[in-house]
Assembly symmetry: C2
Homo-oligomer: 142 residues x 2
DNA sequence: TCATAGGCTTACGTTAACGTCAAACTGCTT
DNA sequence: AAGCAGTTTGACGTTAACGTAAGCCTATGA
């Protein structure tokens, strides 16, 4: 991807910031994942980079989606879940035939997320309590 | 497990509430999981039911652990993660050789959970915004 | 007494999400 | 010209978390 890197450097010189095009290795490095993973996400339809010849070229939009993908993963969602989730973002700009259906889907997902939020807060509270106990014992008995 | 069920019924008659012993199917039904899953958790050391002959008998403690396991799963943690996590709870009552080490582990996990909390809140905010957009469009254009 | 309903173990099957080669094709750099 | 770095498409390997039988034991109700 040296051609691309040259292009990038050029763009950077002119616009000083915000590269518009990315090679697969750029994204892999930036987000600390493998190129294999990125290609895999593409086969699953989560990313749709363009091609220059054979080579994948990613735009800002793909990068943005990748960020959402990784966040979804940190939240423990499957790629299939994340796919649906991305569709919600897409539907935002496209004219979805049924907004009502979209809204329902969003509500479903929000409900899920709120359950998760509850679980999380409970867990944090409990662990914090255990931490205090351990802390106290450390201080008194040692 | 009819012997156990009989036992349970008996106990219930006397104490009127809070069964102390559970058959594998009881827990499976209560939490909507398979008996296979429960046995699997046992092989992974997450549960340690007693045995009456060959048959597993679960106490309240096991039930409590199962609740933690399922919560952990909802939060997207692996069984291995959950195992460590359970150990934190255990260490609470046992005398851990190094409280310091325990505290460090708890802090690690808390950091993780807080990242997750951030991710979650961001996601909820974004989805809520998208929801509003869809909602408005539904109202105006239809 | 026989069937039926669980329970137990053992073992192979399955899905998700990549990891890990292999083999071949660029485009530079030297 | 030769080599290296980076990319591509297969294709097989791997780990986690169970699902799904198969075969066997046992208590209980008809």
């Amino acid at each position: 991807m040296n051609a691309l890197k040259a292009k990038e450097r050029e763009v950077n010189k002119v616009e000083v910031e915000k590269p518009e095009l990315f090679a697969i290795a750029d994204l892999a490095k930036e987000f600390g994942i493998s190129t294999r993973a990125i290609r895999f996400y593409e086969t699953k339809g989560l990313l749709q980079p363009e091609r220059v010849g054979n080579t994948r070229v990613f735009r800002r939009r793909d990068r943005a989606r990748l960020i959402l993908i990784l966040r979804g993963k940190r939240l423990g969602f499957s790629l299939r879940d994340i796919q649906e989730y991305l569709a919600l973002y897409d539907a935002d700009s496209s004219q979805t035939a049924q907004h009502t259906l979209l809204i329902e889907k969003i509500d479903e997902r929000l409900a899920l997320l709120r359950t998760q939020l509850d679980d999380l807060q409970t867990t944090i509270t409990e662990l914090t309590e255990i931490r205090q106990l351990a802390d106290e014992r450390l201080r008194t008995s040692g």
